[in-house]
Every structure is written in structure tokens, then in C-alpha cells.
Symmetry: C4
Subunit: 268 residues, 4 copies
């Protein structure tokens, strides 16, 4: 029975009706959660239907908790390790399990702090990715996932270099613009708001350099922003190309036989 | 005669004069329609030449209606099905036919509603794509079409992930900025205006975060905006590469010979 | 002697001293022209050194005119045609020759019109590209030129589709925003300013939608702006890849011989 | 002993403990320097802990100076030349050595000028790249380095063309907008601020064209900005692809056999 429950909770195999029902019910519940969070943000709706929102939230948390507990129970099937508790820990420290826990935990802890941790329930939104797993786009999602995984190390380096560039540019800009605009560039940390918005080429226009030196520096940093787009794009492009090449290669290898003499063709 | 009319209305074959005349007349009529819509938007011109605009619109709608009816009539040649009515439906529910119908229908229905559906005639603009089909750029247009079709599934997944990111970022930004800027971030739906303008790196500057947490979040979302450019670009790049590879392969295929028996190899 | 003058004026061959002197003199003169135009834009400098600027402009125009006439004279060597006048016309209607003529012609025509055509001398700036031809970056410049030439047809289609999208989006935005912001969206032509600035993701923030429908439309158009970046990038990427592939292929073909038996390897 | 000091200061080999300690100590010191510069930019913190900041800076400069002198001492091991002084010069004029010197030199020179050259210590930030060399991302960093090196010549040409476009666009915009907005476009140099912010699609919105001609020109320049993103991205993409192809090729090379004699083929 445990194996069957695990099977149902995992991605549905072809024509496994209970598993499909489970998947779609969860997708519908998550969508309703998203919808409810959005509606609740309208203050008039929140006041009028406060009871309804609370009840729905209560039911959702209970269902998500049951699901979480079932996943802990079946964790030894997903992460087969020597020891049962290691399986549970392996599950609990997987990325999605942490997000799931964070999105339900605050409702069990009475909080007196000023920050309302129930905000964390928006983390449930990420579970809508599940819709891609059960739909007909699962191959595309897997492809994009593989490409990002393959390029991860290169992207991390790009991100680190961006971070260094951010620190360097913010410091220089602080020295140049602070004497003239002390309210816009009060310190290096605050100046980094300008830098990140320029490097990503968003450019709101709430902060911009006014001195000549600041404008020269700003222009150079904006040009580096182009590089910040070009590098990850190049990395991801080559990742997609490599995936396609591997797929073509494995397809070619299977049926490479001369159709006249029947001998296999050894084509590099 | 029906077959001939169909042939004329379809893309012109080499040196089919009536078909070319039909194609170019239609392109000219559509261009004039575009021009007329643009001129009519100048209020002074609209007042002065009201009669002229109305007459031209009247004639255009009649011509487009005749064309639409002819296409219904010849739909069994374009969509050969068992049943004639199925052919007609197959035509009527094709993408371009719906757009064509929507762009002429409002002129036959007396409307008392506040929204003027005659706005829909701008849909006729899309028919200017026809100019690419009859010109010397038809190969390029077909190539771009094939690449987009090939990449469609990956692009849909990217769009869905973008949509999720949009929901998540808008919700978080609403919680962070609403207490300080209730007019700019009144609810999650309104906050999504800020998110989409930041994710696409447009950055008008009409709305931007002012709290420290909001700025950190804004910077992270702007960085994700880079990814939003990098992913589709990578997908489309690899799509173009794959098209070129397939073209090269089919050229190579022609003169490839098995090294055992010397006969040509019919490679995958 | 005519052949020698032609040789000198063309791109310098290896160690052709007079040709190198000619090339570098011209590059220096063009650079000085650029510098002079920039300095002249400072009103204080213009007033103080008016005579100097005029003299330099006078000398420059004379030198450029002599060069232009020499190029007409040697046009039958560059464009060998049956008839001499056809050679001259072939030269005069080449892209760079038109730009060169436009940048010197206004100084020979006394102008009483309000628009000062001497503005056209900034067209001389384009001749600085010549520096790339004589320097060590000529291979890179030729590569980029070949890639752009190869991708030209695809880029033209992208540009045309962008133009259609611009017309369609501007029209829709005009209908949606004109009633609320008649000063920002007075007609379709003026609305296209907003559209182009949004599609290219520049987003100054001088014009932006304020209605709910306008913001939805604006978000969709901003997303199309991502596509407007992704498409040409994909086209150009694949163009570079194809150039590199062709180069590799031609290198491989030359020396593909088995080093044990000496027979050529026929490796597609 | 000199060889051993050189070995320790270079990138740590596998399990060379003193070298690893040296590397990590330096990374920690550089990180503390970065942190100190950031904290010092908060005026309240600077006033309160002035002594602490000065002492830390004093110690840092001494350590970096010792490191710099050690590198000069061991320069003949890094740059083996005929003459010892040429080795030292080869080291001193290497990119990173200049940056290192500039970041410590100002503290030895009493300066009475208005510009505080101690700003140059932010150059130390660049040394944080060292963290990538000793971490597990060194392969990715080397890959990105190789791709940028390979594409350098093409990127330089793109940068030069961008520079020309910047000059040309700024000049045209100056002529068009100066009569209407003399404060925003006072001369060509000042106008280039608008151009660079538009070409990089940042678009702050502090300067934008208001005339019809200026808006048309602005739209065209914004479209060129798309090209400015597309070209380097295409160059870098193909650079990554070429690197991957070379890697795959060298892997394939190992087990390729001639079909005539069965011996391994040493492919280009």
C-alpha cells in the first residue's frame, strides 16, 4: 500500500487514473491558493470575505500538511538509503521540501513579531511548476532543466563576476556622486541600487549620475550591462546546442547501416 | 472555374499574372487601410474628411467580405475533408480566418455598447504579412516561421515560468511595498505592472521600490529579467542552428557513398 | 599611372608605403574632422575660433573633393564595365560614394533654406570605419560584414515584422489611452514613439499607459520586445556559427589523409 | 626557498597546504578590505571607528606591499627572460600588477591635490576574482576567459563600431534637439550621455528627444541598440560553441580509426 501511495504521489505514469486525479487535484488546489492570495490583496474583498479566506487557508494548510507527512513517510522509496532517518533528512533538505515546509509552517506557530511570516505562503506558487510536469510540455521543461543544470557552473561564475562588478561600480560611483547628490548616493550599499538597475539595463530614472565623471562612469557601466546580457545568453545558447547535438548523435548511432550491403557505417 | 479562383487567391505560382494582380491589389488595399486608420487618428483630418474615410471603409469592408465568402466557397479545396461543412468549419476556425472575420464583422452589427468594436479593424494590419509571402523574402519568412514552430514548446514553457515568476514577484513586492506606497502597490494585480516592466528591463520609472527590502527584491527580479532575455534567445538561436544543420545535411546526403560497396547512402 | 593611383587609394597591400601613407593621412584627416565637429558644438569655442574652423572645413572639403574626383576617374578599374559612364554610375550609386558626396556637396551650394544641410558633414564620421580596414582588425571586420550580409534577408524580415507590430501596437494603444491621456497619445503616429521605446526596452518614462487595459497591452508589448531582441540575436548567432563551420570545414578538407596508408579520408 | 615562495604564492596545487593557507588568507584579507571600504562609506560609522579603519588600512597596505615585493622578487620564475630586469618589467606591466600597484601606491605619497587618490584602493576589489581560481569553479572561469580571449578581436571591432555610432548619433541629435532643449543637448559631448543610455537600452528618462525629427532619430538609434546587444551575444555564443566543439573533437580524436588499414587516425 505504501508503494502504491508513493506511486500515486509521483508523476503519473501513462493512464494511471488515481495518480492523474491526485496530480490534477493538487494543481487545482494550488491554483486556488494562488487565486485566493491575489484576491485577498484587494483590501475591500479581504474585509468582506474574511471568514471565507480563513477557512480556505485552514483547509489548504491541512491538506498540504498531510501531503508533506505522506512524503516523509514514503521518503525511503524516493531516497533509498541505508538508514530510514537519513532518507527522511535527504527528503527534508531537498530544495522543494524546504520551500513546501516554509509555506505551511508559519500557520502552526503563533507569531508576535512585527513581520507576518504568513507572507511565506506565496512560496506555494512555485508548486505550479508541477503543471508542466503532468502536461504535454514535460519534455520541454526537462530540456530547459538539463540546459540550466549543464550551464550552472558557468552561470555561477558570471553571477560572481557580476557581483564583483556591482561592488566595484557602486564604490566608484559613491566616491564620484556622493559630494553632489548625498541623498541619492549616501553610501556604497545604497549606491548599489543605481548600479544593479543600470547593469540590468532597467533604468528607472529615480537615480542617475549628474557629474561629468559620473556620466562617463555610468556610460561604461551601462556598456558592461550589455556584456551581462551577452554572457549568460551565450552560455545558455551553447547549452541548448549541446543538448540538441547529443540527442541527434544518439539517434544517428542507432540506425547507421548501409542499406545496400547491410554493414554498419562507422561515421566518426 | 472554382479551382481557378482558388488558384488565384492562393500564393501566386511563377508567372501566374492574374494571381499576381490579385495578390498585389490586396496588398495595396490593406496598405491603404492601414494608412487610412493612421490618418483618421488625427482628429482634424477625421473631421474634415469624414465622408471620404466612411466611403473608403465601406468599400473596403465589402471587398474583404467578398474575399472572405470566396474563401469559404473554396474551403473544400484548401481543407479537403469528407464533408463540405467540416471543410468550412476547418477554414473558419483557422487563426487567420478568425482575425479576418473579427476585422470586418463589427461593421455589420449595429452597436449600442460603449466600446466601439470597430477598433478591431486594426486586425487587418496583420494581413500585411502577406507582402512577405509574395516578395523575395518568402524563404526567410518561412525559415523564421519554422524556427518559431520548432521552438514553440520550449518558448511556451519559458512563458509559463515567466508567468509564475510574475505572480510570485508581484505578491512579494505587494507585501513589501504596500505599507509604504499604497497608491503604487494597492494590490497584487496592480503590482504586476511594476513586475512586468522590470522583468522585461523596460523600467519606465513610474513605479519603483523605495524600501530597502523592496530594493533588494527589485534588484534580484531585475537579474531574473536578464534570464528572461537569455532563455528565449538561447532557444531561438539553437532553433536557427538546427534548421541550418538540417539544410546542410540534406545537401551532404546527396553525394554520400558507402565505403564498402560504393553505392549512395540514404542517410537517416 | 592611373593604375598606380588606384592601387594607392585602395586598401594597402603588404608594405606598399605610399598606399599606407595615403590611408593613414586620410584616417588622420577624418579624425580631425570628427574632432572639429565636436569642438564646434561648444558655442564658446565656435565663437572664439570661427576663422580656424572655417579654414579647416574649407581645406577638408577640397581634399575630399579631390579624392572623390580621383575615385570617379579610377572607377573603371574598380567597376570594370563595357562602358566608361556605366562604371562611373556604378561607383556613384554605391553606398559609400553617396554618403561621401552628401557630406561635401552642401558646401558648394549656397543655401537660403532654414535647414542647414551642412549638418550632413557628420556623414564623414562613417569613413572612420576605414581605420578597421587598414588595422589588424580587418579580419574581424570582414567576418562581421560577412555574417551581417549572410543574415541580411532574415534581419530584413524581422525588421518588417517589427514595423507591423509597431503599427498594430501603436493603433491599439491610441484607442485605449487617447481618451485618458490625449496629450501623450494624440494620434497613432505620436503613439508610435511610446511603442518603439517600449519594444526596444529603453523605457524613458516620459509616456506610459495609465488605464488598466493600457497596462495589460503595455505588458504584452514589452514581452514582444524580448522577442525583438531574441530573434536578431538568434539570427546573428547562427550566422557566426555558420561562418566558423565553413572555415573549419575548408581547413579540414585540405589535409585529410590517413598518415599510415597515405590514402585520403572521405569524412563527409 | 625562492622557488618554494613562488610556488606558495601561485595557484595552489592539489593538497599543498601552505599554498592553500596563503591563498585563503589573502582572499579573507581582500574580502575584509572590501567590507571595510563599504562600511567606511557610512558617514556615522566612519566618524565613530575612524582609528579602526585607519589601522586596518595601514596593516593591509603593508601586507599588500610585502606581497607585491615578493612577486617582483620571484618575477624571474614567472616570466623567465634573458635578463632579470626584463622579467621585473614584464611583471610590472602585466595588467593585474598595475592594478595592484595603483591600489597601494597612493598611501605612500602625501597628496595635496583636491582629488583623493586613495579612492584607487577599490581596485583591490578585482583581486576577489582570485576566489574563483582556488575554488571549484576554476574550470568555468578558465572557459569564460578562453571564450572572451578568442572573441576579443571581434568584440573590439563591435566596440569601435559602437563608438562611431555613438559619435554620429550624438552629433545628429545635437543638431536636431539643441535649438529646442539647449540645456539637455548643449554640445555633442553632453549629447553622448543621451546616446549611450539609449543605445544600451537603459533609458533613465532624464534626457529624451521632444521634437518630431528627434523622436524619429531616437527610435532608429534605439533599434540600433538592439543590434548592439545582438552582435556581442552572437559573437560570444559562437565562441562558447567553438570551445565545446574543440573539447568534443579532442575526445572523439582518441578513438578514431582509419577504415582502410585500421590504425588510429591523428585527425588535424
Amino acid at each position: 500500500m505504501k508503494a502504491r501511495i508513493f506511486e500515486i504521489m509521483e508523476k503519473a505514469k501513462y493512464r494511471d487514473i488515481p495518480s492523474l486525479i491526485f496530480d490534477w487535484s493538487l494543481v487545482i488546489l494550488i491554483s486556488l491558493n494562488v487565486f485566493s492570495v491575489i484576491l485577498e490583496s484587494f483590501s475591500t474583498l479581504k474585509l468582506r470575505y474574511l471568514g471565507l479566506f480563513s477557512s480556505f487557508e485552514f483547509i489548504s494548510v491541512i491538506i498540504f500538511t498531510i501531503e508533506y507527512l505522506l512524503r516523509i513517510w514514503t521518503s525511503d522509496l524516493k531516497y533509498p538509503r541505508r538508514n530510514r532517518s537519513i532518507s527522511i533528512l535527504a527528503f527534508m533538505f531537498s530544495g522543494m521540501a524546504i520551500i513546501d515546509l516554509l509555506s505551511i509552517l508559519p500557520f502552526y506557530i503563533p507569531l508576535a513579531t512585527s513581520i507576518d511570516l504568513r507572507v511565506l505562503r506565496v512560496l506555494r506558487f512555485t508548486r505550479m511548476l508541477r503543471i508542466l510536469k503532468i502536461g504535454r510540455y514535460s519534455a520541454s521543461m526537462a530540456l530547459i532543466g538539463r540546459v540550466l543544470k549543464r550551464s550552472k557552473s558557468d552561470l555561477v561564475v558570471t553571477l560572481f563576476v557580476t557581483f564583483l562588478l556591482l561592488l566595484l561600480a557602486s564604490s566608484l560611483m559613491y566616491y564620484v556622486e556622493n559630494p553632489v547628490q548625498p541623498d541619492k548616493f549616501p553610501n556604497i550599499v545604497a549606491s548599489s541600487w543605481w548600479t544593479i538597475i543600470t547593469l540590468t539595463t532597467v533604468g528607472y530614472g529615480d537615480v542617475y549620475p549628474v557629474t561629468v565623471l559620473g556620466k562617463i562612469l555610468g556610460g561604461v557601466i551601462a556598456l558592461f550591462g550589455i556584456g551581462l546580457v551577452a554572457l549568460p545568453t551565450g552560455i545558455i545558447s551553447s547549452g541548448f546546442m549541446e543538448e540538441i547535438r547529443l540527442k541527434n548523435q544518439s539517434e544517428v548511432k542507432k540506425n547507421k547501416v548501409c542499406q545496400h550491403c547491410g554493414k554498419p557505417i562507422d561515421d566518426n
